[in-house]
Amino acid sequence: MQLKVKEELFDEPTCSHNIQKKEKKACKTAVPGSSTGGCSLDGAYIVLSPIRDALHVVHGPINCLGNSYNQRTSESKGNEIFYMYGMTSSINENDLIFGSEDKLKKGIIYAVNKFKPKGVFIYNTCVPALTGEDIGGVAKELAEKLNIPVVPVSSQGFSGGKNLGNKIAGDVLFEYVIGKKEPDIDILTDYNINLIGEYNIKGELFLIKKALNDSGINLLSNITGNATMEEIMYSHKAGLNVVVCSKALVYLARKMEEKYGIPFIEESFFGLSSTNNAIMHIAESFKDAKLIEKVKKNIELNTKKIQKKIEPYKKFLTGKRVLLYTGGVKSWSLISALNDLGMKVIATGVKKSTEEDKNKIKEFDANGNIIMLDNGNPVNLIKMIKDEQADILLAGGRNQYTAIKSLIPFLDVNQERGNPYTSYDGVVHLGRQIYLELNSPVYDVIRKAS
């Protein structure tokens, strides 16, 4: 019976809002009649589906996947594109009556023969979870038969939201993938790290990797943008885990610390100063004077270079007012990036932020007047933008139409963003995009016409 997810997943000791509230299920908050966020299937799929040489099979009725595959913008440098393919057992009424484990097995065997993947993830959904299908058993049987990892993911949506799904994904990686293989000796250097929670949206990973390489830091495994199964299997050989922009995957980092003794740090690569800090912190973690020296030099070099590049945008953007409405870690990490560009963040969304995130916000809030926005319903957002005379809204795609229909300039900074915004070059992209959007004549043209 796959009905229950581990209680442990609701209990994150490193998550300070759990300690304070003593409320283990703090992450399960959707109310009937609310506008909707993703479920745990969504969350698990986001984390795992960028693994590019695996198949991702959703075991459920057609609505769980039928409308919504092929939408991630995780880029990949491999030849395989089947990680972008939507696969589902698409169970129907007959399957409910007679059971669909057999169908699931046959379907996966068909797809594995066709695409020759290095692993399979089977995502469970509400209906088969309720009827008590044993996808764990199916996975076990298939793994033996096909001789590749076949991973059951208990991601049924009624268990909780996206955040829980992220954790479930981390959990299955830990249990079924990580540590299952040793790396070739020649891909290891003295400074091996993993990134956790970087999905390579618009190629952001490639920018981060470049910055790390320049400083002599070896990115052993990325979890999970552009990753291969093999890469994640040997990630336990890294000397440091760097969790980026994902509170939920701290869970995975903690498990890896417990089992493999890999320490972890939480960093952000949004913005010049954050990127500099992240790389510096990584170097410091290795306690190696030579590395630290090299990183210092690099940071100096890159800072000069990037400051010169953003100068023209900064000139225009200085003092411009931003309302930032995005989830969790980005509620503070982007503040730093925007500060680098001279902009003034007047409010930031904290609906999905932890106490720790909120503390970070205060850190970046020199004058202590950033409003922490808890209620981000569209009406409230628009009112806030008008009251506080914000020049632009930075948020996720779902608020795009809220903003532009109210003739408020907008930039998407969530998963559908049009450009990579991390690392050194990302700052330049971010500055340029905000600059261009603020200078677009379209809002004035429309305002005058209406």
């Binding site: 009905l3 959707a30 109310v31 009937p32 009649g33 609310s34 506008s35 909707t36 966020g37 993703g38 479920c39 745990s40 299937l41 969504d42 459920g60 009725p61 057609i62 609505n63 769980c64 996947l65 039928g66 409308n67 919504s68 595959y69 092929n70 939408q71 594109i81 393919y85 939507g86 696969m87 589902t88 698409s90 009424e93 399957d95 409910l96 169908k103 046959k106 379907g107 068909y110 797809a111 066709k114 509400c126 209906v127 309720l130 009827t131 049924q156 949506g157 009624f158 268990s159 569209p378 009406v379 795609g397 779902r398 139409y401 809220t402 229909k405 109210s406 003739l407 559908e416 209406s450």
Partner: protein, 472 residues
């Protein structure tokens, strides 16, 4: 082939709940409430937002494991009340999902209970609701779409049914009361249908018009204009033209749909003069719509291409007793010219289509007229048998199967017609893809692509001819 696979790889079909959601989005000042896990609503919302580039007002009852096992009626009731209190829409369209249905709960009973409760409370007088059962494991998009239309009719049409006779008499020519076999195709028309016109136009014809989801917003709007030009006021159910065309509303951002069919008009559809149903996927509506409304019901499998658009205009001339306006006569001549100009580029060209039944039907109609080889078709439901003769290969399946069929045919295809998810298939064989249908998430402006009637058919052949020209 499909059944042997036991897996959908790049599915073409979508769920019945999505079909129902879209119908409800074609109602004015509406929101949709999906009774299920938050993900059920979220997946649809995200894809629809990307497709339409609009806010999509979908909400969830956020059913969790307790509700799924012990019963979800409290979640549904709380959801409706919360939405009514917070947003105050004119209409809430409620769909079920696989999760809320799988334990066999009688959601319809909850819905009726809730209506009673709201009525007794007295504070929700302006709130209208409809419920449609759409378990994802049963049926497909087309069925959800159809059933949601019927749910609207059953909910709102019931009071006005059968009072329509006197009004029908206004339609002097149609002799409706004598017509025993009330469902007629255009080919059934007899001269006797319009004997008493006395040379006068008939005024104030009101038609209930049912169009498929394959119509773009601009298709809906063009059809509306056409009917109005014939003196016919359409009540479109759903009206995805005025609701989903992407217009900047005067009040800017809205939490509900900004256009669509008015509930007020839905309540009086039994008083209108006739029903027009368009689209192969809606064929199953003929009998129930006729029964519920008690009106004459006319069905067209599509209104695309020269021949079928001609038939539709003849039909309009007959029911309105008006001549086709000059503007459309000209459009017809333009389409003829478009066919002549573009037919060179279709000579000997092979076309492969992976779409729902309506686009499969209407597009292949046009491409067949202009002389292309309609080679491979893959669609979502088994109701394609009527089209068997038009295609060399036609079957139900997913986009993976579509690719395999093309490969088995020796990659002998010149153009692929499908939605955004067939991008890789087209890339693999190195031919252009003409994108249509749903979802379209990697392009913009498809709601402005008019592809039915004379003008839209001309648009389509030009667009396809240009893609073929570039690639030859």
């Amino acid at each position: 082939m499909e059944n042997l696979k036991n897996i959908e790889i790049n599915p073409l079909k979508t769920s019945s709940s999505l079909g129902a959601v879209i119908v409800f989005l074609g109602v004015k000042n509406a929101v949709v409430l999906m009774h299920g896990s938050q993900g059920c609503a979220s997946f649809d919302k995200v894809t629809l937002t990307k497709h339409y580039r609009e806010n999509i007002p979908i909400y969830t009852t956020a059913l969790n494991e307790l509700g799924a096992i012990l019963g979800g009626s409290d979640y549904l009731k709380a959801g409706v009340k919360n939405i009514a209190d917070k947003i105050n829409p004119a209409f809430i369209g409620i769909t079920s999902t696989g999760l809320s249905e799988v334990n066999g709960e009688d959601i319809n009973a909850t819905f009726n209970e809730l209506k009673k409760e709201l009525k007794e409370s007295g504070s929700y007088e302006n709130l209208n609701m409809a419920y449609v059962s759409t378990p994802d494991y049963n049926g497909n998009f087309e069925e959800g779409y159809k059933n949601a239309i019927l749910a609207l009719l059953k909910e709102f049409c019931k009071d006005t049914k059968n009072t329509a006779n006197t009004i029908n008499n206004n339609l002097a020519g149609l002799n409706i009361n004598d017509d025993k076999n009330n469902i007629r195709n255009i080919t059934d028309y007899k001269n006797s249908d319009y004997k008493n016109n006395n040379g006068k136009n008939i005024q104030n014809i009101r038609a209930n018009v049912f169009c498929p989801f394959s119509f773009t917003a601009i298709d809906f709007l063009e059809l509306r204009e056409l009917l109005e030009d014939f003196g016919i006021t359409p009540v479109m159910i759903p009206d995805l033209g005025t609701s989903m065309d992407g217009h900047l509303d005067e009040s800017g951002y809205l939490q509900t749909t900004s256009g669509g069919v008015d509930i007020k008009d839905l309540k009086t559809i039994g008083l209108n003069n006739l029903n027009i149903i368009i689209g192969s996927s809606l064929k199953g509506l003929i009998a129930p719509v006729k029964e519920i409304t008690g009106l004459n019901t006319y069905y067209f499998s599509n209104i695309s291409g020269l021949k079928n658009t001609d038939l539709f205009f003849k039909f309009l001339e007959k029911i309105s007793l008006r001549k086709t306006p000059e503007k459309y006569k000209r459009q017809k001549r333009q389409l003829m010219d478009a066919y002549l100009d573009s037919h060179f580029y279709f000579l000997g060209k092979n076309i492969a289509i992976a779409e729902g039944i309506d686009i499969l039907d209407s597009f292949s109609e046009i491409f067949a007229e202009v002389g292309a080889n309609i080679k491979i078709g893959v669609t979502t439901s088994s109701s394609y048998v009527n089209l068997k003769n038009r295609f060399e290969i036609l079957t139900e399946g997913d986009i993976d199967l579509f690719g395999e069929l093309i490969e088995a045919d020796g990659n002998n295809i010149d153009i692929v017609i499908s939605n955004s998810n067939a991008k890789y298939t087209a890339e693999k064989i190195g031919v252009p893809i003409l994108k249509a249908g749903f979802p379209l998430i990697d392009q913009i402006g498809h709601n402005f692509k008019h592809r039915i009637l004379y003008k839209g058919s001309a648009n389509l052949v030009y667009e396809a001819a240009n893609l073929l020209m570039k690639n030859s």
